[in-house]
Every structure is written in structure tokens, then in C-alpha cells.
């Protein structure tokens, strides 16, 4: 009973925060238009949107279906507002649940995932804010050619460490989707720019393999 109440309240608070966020986010361009008296021609917004919306909206819908089960209730309401899910919030939540030995979808998993995502959101916001305040001093350092390879390789640096933990524990399920993705990206390197769309493909393959192995009693 208590768990249901807590979860129900999380949904209620989450919905309140997220709808306020929607309004605030939409108010930013409205405020810009009103303050500068600069409403853009509808045609230019539509043209700009046509270039990005088909892919962004598809990826957005896919991310909701794929990441919500991993992030938990509060984690989803918070993570989707603060963004940077694949490169930060999802790995942060997964890592926190792993080191606490809790599972996604449990009460403990919900607590740990929420703490990880909230902390990550606060730290990210503070770091960006400090960076904006110190932009003069930081720009030459952050844009230095010596440091460029570090930031160019942030995703392999992240997924190498995270991947080895999950794959070593679930190698039977991992091997097919991993091989599929390596062959796919080798065959069509340009897909790297739309990796978000391939996440559910990888998930579908993993789930299929897991189901077959489970039914055969191999897991």
C-alpha cells in the first residue's frame, strides 16, 4: 500500500514538474519574440523544422519507450527534462544501480536511479553555469587541440567501461546484438550519426536472443 502511494505521488509530482517544464521551455521562444518584437515568419520555422523534426521526433518517441524502463519513474520525469540521456543520464543511472546491486523496476532501484540522475543534473547544470561565467578563461583550454581527442572519444571511453561490466555478466545475450551492430556500422559508417534510432533495434535483437536462450534453459 505504502509503495503504491509513493509511486502514485511520484507520478503526480513528476507530471506537475514536467508540464511546468513544457510551459517554461515553450515560453523561452515566446519571450524572445515578444521582447525583441521579432515573430519569425511561420514559413521559416516550418522549413527549419522540416530539416530536423522527422528524425528528432522519431528518436524522441523511441527514447521514451527505450529509456523509461531503465530510468524508473522519477528518473524519467527528471531525465527527460534535463536531457543528455544517452551520453550521461542513462549510463549514470545504470552505473549507480550496478554498484548498489539493485535492479531497475524495484523500489531500491527507483531510489538509486533517482539520486543518480538528480545529482548528475545538478552537477551538469553547475558545471555549464561555471563554464559560461568563466568562458573567457576556459575557451582557450577547452578548445585546445591537445584536449580535442579526449572529448572526441568520450562515448568510447564511457561505453568501454560500462559495456565490459554488463557484457561480462550477460555474454550469451550480448554477443549477437554486439556482432550485428559492429557489422552494421562497418557496412554503413554514416549510420553513426543516427545511432539513437538503432538503440531499439539492438534492444529488439537482445530481447529476441534472451527469449530464445531463456526458453531453451540456457540462462
Amino acid at each position: 500500500m505504502n509503495r503504491k502511494t509513493y509511486d502514485d505521488m511520484t507520478h503526480l509530482y513528476g507530471k506537475i514538474w514536467i508540464w511546468i517544464a513544457v510551459v517554461i521551455i515553450l515560453l523561452v521562444p515566446v519571450a524572445i519574440c515578444v521582447y525583441y518584437n521579432a515573430w519569425p515568419p511561420l514559413q521559416s520555422v516550418v522549413k527549419g523544422l522540416l530539416g530536423v523534426a522527422p528524425i528528432f521526433w522519431t528518436v524522441g518517441a523511441i527514447e521514451v519507450i527505450t529509456f523509461c524502463p531503465m530510468l524508473g519513474t522519477a528518473g524519467s520525469y527528471l531525465g527527460f527534462v534535463t536531457g543528455n540521456l544517452t551520453n550521461l543520464k542513462v549510463p549514470c543511472a545504470l552505473n549507480a544501480m550496478e554498484i548498489n546491486s539493485v535492479k531497475s523496476g524495484t523500489e531500491e532501484g527507483e531510489v538509486v536511479s533517482t539520486i543518480a540522475i538528480a545529482t548528475s543534473s545538478i552537477v551538469t547544470t553547475i558545471i555549464i553555469s561555471i563554464g559560461v561565467l568563466l568562458i573567457g578563461q576556459l575557451t582557450p583550454i577547452l578548445n585546445s587541440p591537445e584536449l580535442k581527442p579526449a572529448f572526441d572519444n568520450i562515448l568510447p571511453a564511457l561505453f568501454g567501461g560500462l559495456g565490459v561490466v554488463y557484457i561480462s555478466k550477460n555474454w550469451k545475450v550480448s554477443i549477437v546484438p554486439l556482432l550485428f551492430m559492429v557489422v552494421l556500422f562497418l557496412s554503413v559508417p554514416s549510420l553513426a550519426s543516427s545511432v539513437g534510432i538503432l538503440v531499439p533495434v539492438g534492444a529488439a535483437i537482445s530481447i529476441g536472443v534472451a527469449r530464445i536462450l531463456y526458453k531453451k534453459g540456457l540462462l
Binding site: 513528476g14 521562444p29 527549419g48 531510489v111 538509486v112 551538469t124 572519444n153 562497418l186 553513426a192
Partner: protein
């Protein structure tokens, strides 16, 4: 009025957004922490989760800051600051700005001077990214009910189902690392970085399990990630 994308009004908008984000995050952080206490979870572990998550976040957050700097050359500082603090990621915002700028025949090489072009870009950045945030309150309960149904029928399969989803995401990103290897040795750099990160994680695992250095468990991922990024800095000049 002369238009300046860096004027005080834009900074006020940015600070408002930042305050909202911090407030929402603190609200859920405190609530989850209290819930953890109620559930009898180890408080030390919860505190360590906060510190390890904070340390893990530093490098990706600096990478996001680089995105702000990239966009600021064209859009000024406050709008990229806003966009990359809520929902946004550089992989969305840069194409959104580029798409609108090209539709309006505006150059990306200098700071924007036309307020209408600026507001058009702000609209496209916002509307282009708004879908996921609207879908969460609509779909989250249904997604969770679906998972609960799977778990109630067979809890072991329910756990496997979620683990398989994790593995699908990890496979996609690990596969992507191999996308450039056909261009030659330089294309292998991300693969070497991935392997080095995995190696560091393996070493952390040995230090934890064999030598019982327990604190390393909380910081293994930041250590692997930062170590691999340092490795990238060292090997890139030698290979590229």
C-alpha cells in the same frame, strides 16, 4: 532596438531556466534520499551514490559545455546555455540551428544579428526537441504497466527483459565505435580507447575482488572513462 543575443534579457531567461532545473533536481533528490531511509537502505551507500554520480558527471558535463561554446559563436551564450541545460544535446541543437539558418540563408560563421532569424532558430530548437518531454507523462504509466505485466507472469524473464534492453543500447553504442575503422589506423583510435576503458574497468574489478579495495567500486566508471580519455590524448598525436 539593436539586437544582441548576449544581452541581459537573455541571461535573465537562462538563469530562470537554471533555477527551475536545480529546483526540480533537488526536489527529487531529497525525496528519493528520504525514501531510501524509509526503506532501510544503507545511508552511506546512498551518499556514495551521490558522490560517485557527481564525479562520473564531470567529464560528460565538460563535453556538453564544449557544445555550448560551439553554438555560442553563432547564437551568443544564453540561448545555447538554455538549450543544453533543458532536454537538449549538441547532437540535436547544432543540426536544428543549422537547418533553420540554411532555410533563412543566414551565415553560421558570425554572431547572429537578425532577431527574427534568432527567434526562428529558438522555435525550431524548442519544437524539434519537445516531443519526448510531452510523451513521458502520457506514456510512462502504460510502459510501466506493460513491464509489470511481464514481471508478474514470470519475474526472471521480466528482469532478463530489462537487462536485454540495456544490452541493446550498449551494443548500439559499442558498434558505433567501429564505424570509422575502414579509413585506416586513425579510425581505430575510438576502438583502442574503448578497449583501454574496458581494460581499466577490468583492473578496477581485480582490485575490488582480489585485493578487496572496496572504495574503487564507486569510482570505477569515472576512473575508466577519464583514464581512457587521457589515453586518447596520448595516442592520437602518435597515430593521426
Amino acid at each position: 532596438m539593436n539586437f544582441n543575443p548576449n544581452d541581459n534579457f537573455m541571461y535573465i531567461l537562462a538563469v530562470t531556466i537554471i533555477v527551475f532545473i536545480i529546483a526540480q533536481s533537488l526536489f527529487f533528490l531529497i525525496r528519493a534520499y528520504r525514501r531510501g531511509k524509509e526503506l532501510g537502505m544503507d545511508i552511506k551507500k546512498l551518499r556514495k551514490t551521490i558522490s560517485s554520480s557527481a564525479i562520473f558527471t564531470v567529464a560528460p558535463a565538460v563535453s556538453i559545455l564544449l557544445g555550448v561554446l560551439t553554438l555560442s559563436k553563432f547564437l551568443g551564450l544564453p540561448l545555447p546555455w538554455i538549450r543544453l541545460s533543458v532536454i537538449g544535446a549538441i547532437t540535436y541543437e547544432l543540426p536544428a540551428a543549422t537547418s533553420t539558418a540554411s532555410a533563412l540563408n543566414v551565415s553560421l560563421s558570425e554572431t547572429i544579428k537578425d532577431p527574427k532569424a534568432f527567434s526562428a532558430i529558438a522555435w525550431v530548437m524548442t519544437l524539434g526537441i519537445i516531443v519526448s518531454i510531452i510523451l513521458v507523462p502520457i506514456l510512462l504509466r502504460r510502459i510501466q504497466k506493460g513491464l509489470t505485466t511481464i514481471k508478474s507472469k514470470d519475474s526472471k524473464w521480466g528482469d532478463l527483459f530489462i537487462t536485454a534492453m540495456f544490452l541493446g543500447m550498449i551494443s548500439a553504442f559499442m558498434g558505433m565505435v567501429f564505424s570509422n575503422i575502414r579509413i585506416g589506423l586513425a579510425g581505430w583510435i575510438p576502438v583502442f580507447v574503448l578497449m583501454f576503458s574496458a581494460l581499466l574497468m577490468g583492473i578496477c574489478g581485480i582490485l575490488l575482488k582480489v585485493f578487496k579495495i572496496n572504495w574503487i567500486q564507486d569510482y570505477a566508471l569515472p576512473i575508466s572513462m577519464l583514464g581512457a580519455m587521457t589515453f586518447a590524448v596520448c595516442i592520437t598525436p602518435l597515430i593521426a
